[in-house]
């Protein structure tokens, strides 16, 4: 990773005098050398290939490629898998697992047929119904209140787990996507060494900063 070497060198050299232009060109020259993704990665949580495929597809429907990459391109599945396998506490993992089951059940009931046989169009239709822009805002509000509960209220178990799962999936997809190196360095505004803080500048259409 030449970029990191460059960063470290600048850091060690009391970078107050390094100009931003020099710095940015150093970064850009390194971006094209990004390693390939054929790295023999294996899932720790989504060990069932059908479940893994479902997560990959659904996350890519939430954030698909446009003129910028989508969830598949930046391999958001790796982030989602690592989070559920290693970051979530046991209770959250359990809730996520139950939610996945509830989602499969709802998906199959809605679209007909086994979930692993459904097309991308069918998955999209299902997700649009659950979390698309056309969902009634009042319904959305009720669902958000439901999943804010610590336990499933009696009689609402299926709904509770389904919407908890969809919320987690969306949250993980967004965090994994926007927190990725490709999006962070090439598509959002990447500003590793901003210099003195400027409190009020014109936005001029610029994207959100990738570092916080």
């Amino acid at each position: 990773m030449k970029r990191r070497t460059a960063l470290k060198t600048i850091g060690l050299g009391m970078g107050a005098t390094v100009s931003l232009g020099t710095f940015l060109s150093t970064i850009q020259s390194c971006v094209s050398e990004k390693e390939s993704s054929a790295d023999g990665w294996k899932a720790d949580y989504f060990t069932d290939p059908n479940q893994q495929k479902l997560i990959v597809e659904m996350s890519d429907i939430i954030l698909p490629a446009t003129d910028t990459p989508g969830a598949k391109d930046v391999e958001v599945i790796k982030y989602i898998d690592a989070t559920v396998a290693r970051i979530y506490d046991p209770k959250t993992v359990e809730r996520f697992g139950k939610g996945m089951d509830a989602c499969v059940k709802a998906l199959e009931a809605d679209q007909g047929g086994k979930y692993s046989d459904l097309s991308r169009e069918q998955l999209t239709a299902f997700l649009e119904k659950q979390m698309g822009a056309s969902v009634d805002p009042a319904t959305h509000k009720t669902r958000r209140a439901l999943i804010a509960e610590k336990e499933a209220p009696s009689g609402q178990s299926d709904e509770y787990y389904l919407y908890s799962f969809l919320d987690s999936l969306k949250s993980l997809t967004i965090a994994g996507f926007f927190g990725s190196e490709v999006i962070g360095e090439q598509h959002l505004t990447y500003d590793p060494i901003p210099g003195p803080y400027q409190g009020c500048i014109d936005q001029n259409g610029m994207n959100t900063y990738s570092l916080s």
């Binding site: 990191r4 698909p64 290693r86 400027q198």
Partner: protein, 571 residues
């Protein structure tokens, strides 16, 4: 750093125990005044810059995007009470609770957040730097609470200036009597929404002010010693490659080193201060090497204890002799009592409509500050609590994470999340905790640590005065946002355990009377005049300002006094 080696002497003019904010200052002042000074640190050595392993890592460079795994958390059940210490980017600056356990009495809680290494918590501190004022120094006496401070603002003012000029404090002069101005480097900027909030507070609440945080960062264009200017990376907790924020590693220890008079010995656990009954003074300290567990006695003419409020007091409590059966300097019975901190995690936030075409540049490692405005005088007197609180907060634009709770999926949704969202502002109060004798620590000889040393059991809680203050904090935070025109305002109280502010203090308080205090007005143990305590342990009351700057000033003042007294052969 000049490290102790087999040829180093066992006897010095001065010994400093601890290398955090106050220990670094003691080392600098004593060594620069010509005293051969041994600086002891219980943790490992940390070399400035070269040991800041994560300082340039982006989130995607760090394991699990800088989030703690369940496996990591097993070692840090107490440190993780903060919610932010256990991250791959800086977890190496915090102790493993499994290696350094402590205990709590039933139904009480104390959050003891620590880092054992050269530099201590000066590497991870919040850097907010405010002077105390006579409103604070006189409060105990006026209200008949605990004991009076033996000093007043005029005693400390020149020393505040002394340490500010060397540490580098950025801030704005405001002429507020109870938050005295200091020797400031240029202030950092407020952003557009913070400026609006400031204007509104000025016009709606005559006794309230909003100013940019006063923070220990190098700003402006003038060269500052061997340190660089803040680059607004907001990665301070990892250690700064520019040395732009004040830490012992960047500032005081290099100065002590430059004097040629300092010897640093890491991996050195001070187990007790040795008392010489004939001379009525301390003769030195006993040290256990943390690696070999070998024990050494080091001698010195004066000893500065700067191991942190809790650890310094634990050393004194463990320093038992015929003269001091209950711990060195504990004639009053106050040693280990009156633990204070700042209670927080109460505040408000809200949305701002407008300024969609405005943004900022940089991740400012600082926010705004609203100084205390309660109980300043008769007009601002509150019916159900004494003392007061200040607010720290900031405004910023939301990012993609706000998209989780919104409806929408697909390409257009994704593209919209690439752009900055709306403006939000929030603020959190930091309030004074009164000194309660029953908020205490004791040594636990039933549960020894891996070095055979006693552990500590705490018993601390906040009480009615703090609980009433918390209600007021939420109300005033909300009303200031409301008056400024913020929308969707929510107020919160997320709960608090003593210690969580990481401003623990008061366990060996200063006072006028040896019967009711441990230290005198020069931070000397009343009955052992060559032992000085200048870390948080010495505080007689907590005020509501972040305390580190006061520890620096008290340390520099005591160290210069100690050198003068040595010269006069009084010690």
């Amino acid at each position: 750093m000049p490290l102790f080696n087999e040829n180093s002497p066992m006897e010095y003019d001065a010994i400093v125990v601890g290398t955090g904010i106050s220990g670094g200052w003691a080392a600098k002042e004593l060594a620069e005044k010509g005293l051969k000074t041994l600086v002891l640190e219980r943790g490992r050595n940390v070399n400035h810059v070269v040991d800041y392993k994560t300082m340039n890592d982006d989130p995607w460079d760090l394991p699990n995007n800088d989030r703690p795994t369940q496996e990591m958390l097993k070692d840090y059940p107490m440190q993780n009470r903060t919610g932010y210490t256990v991250r791959p980017s800086h977890v190496h600056w915090f102790v493993k609770d499994t290696e350094h356990p402590y205990y709590e009495k039933p139904d009480t809680r104390f959050d003891w957040i620590r880092g054992y290494h050269v530099g201590g918590r000066s590497l991870v501190w919040g850097r907010q730097s405010y002077r105390l004022a006579d409103l604070d120094f006189e409060a105990n006496a006026k209200q008949g609470i605990a004991v009076d401070w033996p000093i007043r603002y005029k005693d400390l003012a020149p020393w505040y200036s002394h340490v500010e000029k060397f540490a580098g404090i950025s801030g704005q002069k405001e002429g507020i009597k109870h938050l005295p101005d200091g020797e400031f480097l240029p202030p950092m900027e407020l952003n557009c929404v913070e400026e609006e909030l400031k204007k509104s507070i000025n016009s709606s609440f005559p006794e309230r002010h909003l100013t940019i945080g006063r923070t220990a960062h190098i700003t402006g264009d003038s060269p500052f010693q061997n340190r660089g200017t803040c680059q607004s990376r907001n990665r301070c907790m990892r250690g700064c490659p520019y040395g732009a924020y004040f830490s012992s590693n960047a500032s005081t220890l290099p100065a002590a080193e430059a004097s040629g008079n300092m010897t640093l010995r890491p991996d050195s656990i001070v187990t007790e201060v040795i008392y010489d009954a004939e001379k009525g003074k301390a003769s030195g300290v006993r040290v256990m090497d943390s690696n070999t567990k070998e024990v050494y006695d080091f001698k010195a003419r004066i000893i500065f204890l700067n191991a942190s409020a809790i650890a310094t007091t634990a050393i004194l409590m463990n320093s038992k002799s015929d003269r001091f059966p209950n711990g060195m300097g504990n004639d009053s019975g106050e040693l280990g009592h009156n633990i204070m901190d700042h209670h927080f995690r109460v505040g408000a936030s809200g949305d701002w409509d407008g300024f969609e075409d405005k943004y900022y540049k940089g991740r400012r490692p600082n926010g705004f500050y609203i100084p205390r405005f309660r109980n300043l005088d008769e007009k601002t007197k509150m019916p159900d609590f004494v003392r007061g609180y200040g607010f720290q907060g900031s405004a910023s634009r939301e990012d993609w994470s706000a998209g989780v709770a919104e409806l929408g999926i697909g390409g257009g949704f994704k593209d919209s999340l690439m752009k900055p969202g709306g403006w939000r502002a929030g603020m959190t109060a930091f309030g004074e905790i009164l000194p309660y004798h029953d908020n205490a620590m004791e040594l636990n000889y039933d549960k020894l640590d891996a070095w055979g040393q006693p552990t500590i059991t705490f018993s601390t809680t906040i009480r009615e005065n703090e609980l009433n203050m918390r209600k007021d904090m939420a109300v005033t935070a909300g009303e200031m946002l409301e008056a400024a025109g913020f929308k969707n305002i929510s107020t919160w109280d997320d709960g608090y355990g003593v210690g969580l502010g990481i401003h623990e203090m008061g366990t060996a308080r200063m006072g006028k009377d040896p019967k009711t205090s441990v230290l005198n007005k020069w931070n000397q143990i009343h009955a052992v005049p060559n032992v000085f305590v200048t870390d948080g342990a010495c505080m007689t009351s907590a005020a509501c300002q972040n305390p580190s700057l006061t520890y620096m000033a008290l340390t520099a003042r005591a160290a210069n006094y100690a050198v003068d007294e040595l010269k006069k052969m009084n010690l």
